[in-house]
Symmetry: C2
Subunit: 150 residues, 2 copies
């Protein structure tokens, strides 16, 4: 009888105490997904980047309604490549994990093909785990650089 009670406590403790470790695992997985994002960005294909988003994913840039769906996201990134962006650097600052969903706060830098800084800013990405793969569900970012009129 006592054994079952201990087992019960052990299961509950396990649920509680594994949380930090799971959070660390999710952070590592998201950092790996970001490394993949940057590596694929270097190939300059909007369609390839769009494949890293969830099927119902959205990019949420300034000056636009949210851009939803794989085709529209591919077009958005293709436009960024066409404007001279050649590299996307991502740095994870915080991760708040919650089962199949996680929220990441980070910093980005965009560079042209000779490595000159085009823009730097911050982002919040809501990630969704789809069958073991972390996909971008919501991707919001904005420049840290003041506009010229300011």
């Amino acid at each position: 009888m006592k054994n079952r009670a201990y087992l019960c406590l052990a299961v509950i403790a396990l649920i509680g105490f594994t949380t930090p470790s799971l959070a660390a695992q999710v952070r590592t997985a998201i950092e790996a997904a970001n490394a993949r994002f940057s590596a694929l960005a270097a190939q300059g294909s909007g369609a390839t980047l769009a494949g890293l988003y969830a099927k119902d994913g959205a990019v949420m840039p300034a000056g636009s309604d949210p851009i939803r769906g794989t085709q529209a996201i591919a077009k958005f990134w293709q436009g960024a490549f066409a404007s001279g962006m050649a590299a996307i650097e991502l740095k994870t600052v915080e991760v708040y994990a919650q089962g199949a969903t996680a929220t990441e706060v980070g910093e980005y830098a965009l560079r042209d093909k000779v490595g000159h800084l085009l823009d730097r800013g911050k982002y919040i990405v809501i990630w969704h785990n789809e069958g073991g793969q972390w996909k971008l569900l919501r991707d919001m970012f904005s420049t840290n650089v003041p506009s010229p009129k300011n």
Copy 2:
């Protein structure tokens, strides 16, 4: 003996099955916090709005590094009031809850004192529950309106 086993299962089931209900509770609490945010915004005090943020909270607007801490956040909102903003409307679209932290995706509208639309856009807020109160931990937003040069 069986009673304990059933109790054990019941506890585990409770942890699992109450999750959606908790998520709904969190969403309701966040919508209430937003209503409070809008009501206090109508008073036009940056310091009052800043009190709704976590102590280590940050506002993450376009064209600026993240604005961290109560005093800097108060100054940011005071500047917005000084520029003519008189009302902030918030609409929760999605909530991803995770214990003491929750991520909200929403839409905003800013209006002047006679109700004219100044700006509309989207936001992601990471909320943190501090002793029962939901506080804004990360507050990122950007306009949906294209800049004139586009």
